[in-house]
Symmetry: D2
Subunit: 333 residues, 4 copies
């Protein structure tokens, strides 16, 4: 970390600052220039409060030279992390396809969809049991019952399950779940992240609506710093001024994250766009951008053809998407 | 709620949709126009999934005519809510000044600051015991011990206390706290909101970094729908492209929220700007905009003059701010 | 267009509004519901000021049912527009590759790069002569001399030229240029757009940093409404809170624009990301998303190897990108 | 300017970079640290392309120590600029009130409003003759005729005039106009800025919808670098994700700009909020934040009571706003 001192800083002020930094167990390397003085801080700067330092009267600017995350950092872990879930490998050149309904609605529904997406090449089943909803009056998911039905679908099809946790008090219910998802709204629920760091199950960590990629990696670091290194990062769109799509899918995130970290990166085009019509092209684009996998909403409700227009694809549309994605995948590797 | 059907929708499709809507206990009022057909949905539309409806193939657009929040809605509760905390009244033309350090650091520190801010006119003491930090390696607050010290400061000065909760499992520690704060990152931690709706203590609900004002009111609704009507809304800056300030303080939020809701609205210029120098003008501006109060960071650490530059004001700076705010308050009422 | 009147609007107020709307040559279709009254406005609503209408005391909401753009609208022009530039076709299933340096620097430079990109499959040469720069002290381009050098490169290689105009007073210099580019900062320079609508040359219109897709189409409409229908739309990243990339490339724009309009849509991953390393994956992603072409910065300066790291690719990197893009293109068509 | 080189940079690479920097007439001060090497660049760094430098393979980070703007910079011009327009002083502790209609519509309208706002304390008359409109089909202003009518209103009331220019080719029409406005969409129309730098008339420069404060100052620098030092900055809201207001008024901009620059800063709450109801509280807030003045839309059309609801205030509402603003102004000085 580098701190640039303002022109006119007195030697006393500089000494005062250096003494303070040394009390944080940092070595300080001083460089006096014509216009400014630069302090190079050597040591474990991950504990330094950059904002505080930057806001001091005598400090012109503070700049991190090294990233504040360690365990998620590719510099200290050059090889791709490969996470194994049953026979499925995630990361390190493998491509994973997670698919399923937004919410589990019934045993029949989830099993039927599970069979359909498996037939089209999905290797993980997704489905929501606990649903974070903006309105307290909206359907909050089948909760514990939903988890049970997901496990029945797993028994029936052999597909591993990914589903979202909202509250650490429900963790026991996730004992047989294969991958626990942390939703975008909980990306900085630090207490939840810490608890999930204490178990030994893969965590699918979604980027928050307004969170930078560095913040996403810091949240991965919260999980990893407690011992759980099985973190899958997920780009799912950020909030911008554009209203033509629900969120703006930031596909450059895939390369940026791969560059900074060894963790696998998957993409969720369903939530990002909010429109079924946009899911197939964005799935192809995410694949071409180098994503390690996709998570896609698929729904099949013959009794209610009305749902076809939502952000969920029909099994037939998913089948087509899956074929196109496979071809794009071949084109880039 | 109004749904506009696309040109070319068949009578069968329209009937199918109407049947589906009626199964949700809604009355449907149909209006056939030259170019479009409009459905007016009458009844409890708060359970209707607008995005789903809007994404149907035959639906051109969906528009809410009434807001999806009820208990927080001024339409159904025209008078300002006034929340009483000891002798302090919040809302309804009263002005509250909350002040104190970002984190509780020691008994000496918190009591000294409490006395200072009280002398300058603060009527609530703020101080963080549990601290949400982006990095797992940063100071996480004194936690339970911090709560104890806040209560000592309360005993010493008589000032009621506001402090942040991050996890419902720590709720017991807040038994003697006067106002529980939900931080920006937890604004959509719906399970936490629901639990706080079951107690009878004022909740200070901060707007999330990337949340709309309607989402803020929906989160207030989560608390209120469980029975706790004592919610104080807090604008604390939103995330934008501008980097000159930490966040962009959205002062028009004060009037918009007052218009939509009967709940009190306070402003936090310290976190919004991230710079001590900007706190006094933004405090004056928030007051002129009609805020029901302010929450200001004040720190006093004679042993470490270095901290003066941060977003915290010194007690002397706070005293000046407090006087200026009082004058602006007089000018507008 | 639909206007929803507030509950409690008097018949006099309604009549007053209807009379006003009729003076704008609109037919008004009234529908009285239980809670609200809805006015359907029939006729040429493109001249109606939606914001003014929506801000009236008695109006709850206004909603366009039809888009405010006409000539750019796919509804009235279902077939893809195909723009021909020499032998090169843009749009309608054809794929165009524009490449070249950010700025023209010398005859040698531009001709060498032109030959290199042509050999790698580019079919249009790009190069800046007039450069919009944030700072008045930065290099503003070679201007008229730059145009001359581009035309020499065209003579040498046969590649058509695309280059940016900043000021209508320089239009004469563009007489032999094949495609005139309007940069992101000028997307709403309406006077410039109108003038470019009066000539008969293809216009490459870049999306502004903070402009919605609808605004982009309205700017295309400015050009088209004056008679020039040869508009190529270009997504080049929008400004968001994320700082890991210069801008956030919004690839869902490709599908959204194709859906709304018949105009060709190309993507500029170089300016969007600002980093050479991110250009190849984003070029592949844009292709997979269905873009009609790419515009890529390529630079070759053997005397200054330092430039390699910028957002420009070397000719060798471009050659590799070009091959990968061709493979992705095959995978999706 | 400081450039931090990556760990592992070879001496040859470092020498190569230094040679390149020296060719730009910069002195380079080298500081070798344990982890990084830091180059301090001394001299006129305003011509250095920071993005290019930062994107080089061997460069970890680049940081400006001094701002890239000079003539607008308070460091080199500590005293507030005071701009005189007739008897009206703008900046340096003076407070200016500009008011008038969005568009000039008729002689009667503009003169009536001019008289009304003058009576309520306005000292500059605003009114649009050339109107930038998103749609080519919307009213584009009365243009030259509008300028004439503004000058009639000036003759009648003595109020100086501010009105917007969109195109340098119309400059002759502005000969008797007192202040020329550059609208938000033209903030980076650099050719227009340069031409306005060559005349000797005050320029009201509005911040672009998605422009940082530094970019605003760079645009002021474009004008000033050509010789015209009479620039008035104007905050008018930025584009964010929030849709409750048309834009988000960034009032902290007032203090930030005052800190960085000696130029006067005024605020436009009418365009920022887009709603008449929000204009008075935001006008009071802007005043409390330390703005040097306001620009407010006022409209008076007794024949069309429908317009009352728009972002324009009635003369009576403006009169009330003006009184409140005067009281707030007294409270803070």
């Amino acid at each position: 970390m580098i701190a640039v001192l303002k022109h006119g800083t007195t030697p006393e002020q500089t000494d005062h600052l250096i003494a303070w930094l040394k009390r944080m167990n940092l070595d300080v390397h001083i460089s006096h220039g014509a216009e400014v003085t630069i302090l190079g801080l050597i040591g474990d700067t991950s504990r330094v409060d950059m904002e505080l330092l930057g806001s001091l009267e005598i400090v012109e600017a503070v700049k991190r030279v090294s990233e504040p995350f360690k365990q998620a950092n590719r510099k200290f872990h050059p090889d791709d992390t490969v996470i194994e879930v049953g026979d499925v490998k995630i990361g390190g050149g493998n491509f994973v396809m997670m698919a399923g309904p937004c919410s589990v609605e019934s045993e029949e529904q989830i099993i039927e969809i599970a069979k359909a997406v498996k037939a089209s090449g999905a290797n993980i089943l997704r489905g929501g049991a606990f649903k974070p909803r903006t309105s307290p009056y909206a359907f909050q998911g089948m909760q514990g019952k939903g988890i049970e039905l997901l496990l029945k679908a797993k028994a029936e099809t052999g597909l591993p399950i990914v589903t979202e946790i909202m509250n650490i008090s429900t963790l026991d219910l996730f004992a047989d779940i294969d991958i626990i998802q942390v939703g975008a709204r909980n990306m900085q629920n630090f207490d939840l992240l810490k608890e999930l760091g204490k178990i030994n199950k893969p965590i699918l960590l979604k980027r928050g609506l307004a969170n930078t990629l560095q913040e996403l990696l810091m949240s991965a670091e919260y999980i990893m710093s407690e011992g759980n290194e099985n973190v899958i990062l997920c780009e799912r769109g950020i909030r911008t001024f554009e209203t033509a799509t629900r969120n703006t899918l930031d596909l450059s995130a895939v390369s940026v994250l791969h560059d900074l970290s060894h963790l696998p990166v998957i993409v969720d085009p369903s939530h990002a766009t909010g429109k079924a019509k946009l899911v197939p092209p964005m799935a192809a684009a995410a694949t071409a951008a180098g994503a390690d996998g996709l998570i896609i909403e698929v729904h099949n409700n013959p009794a209610c053809a009305l749902c076809d227009g939502a952000q969920s694809l029909t099994p037939a549309q998913f089948d087509e998407l899956s074929k196109r994605v496979a071809k794009v995948r071949e084109a880039i590797v």
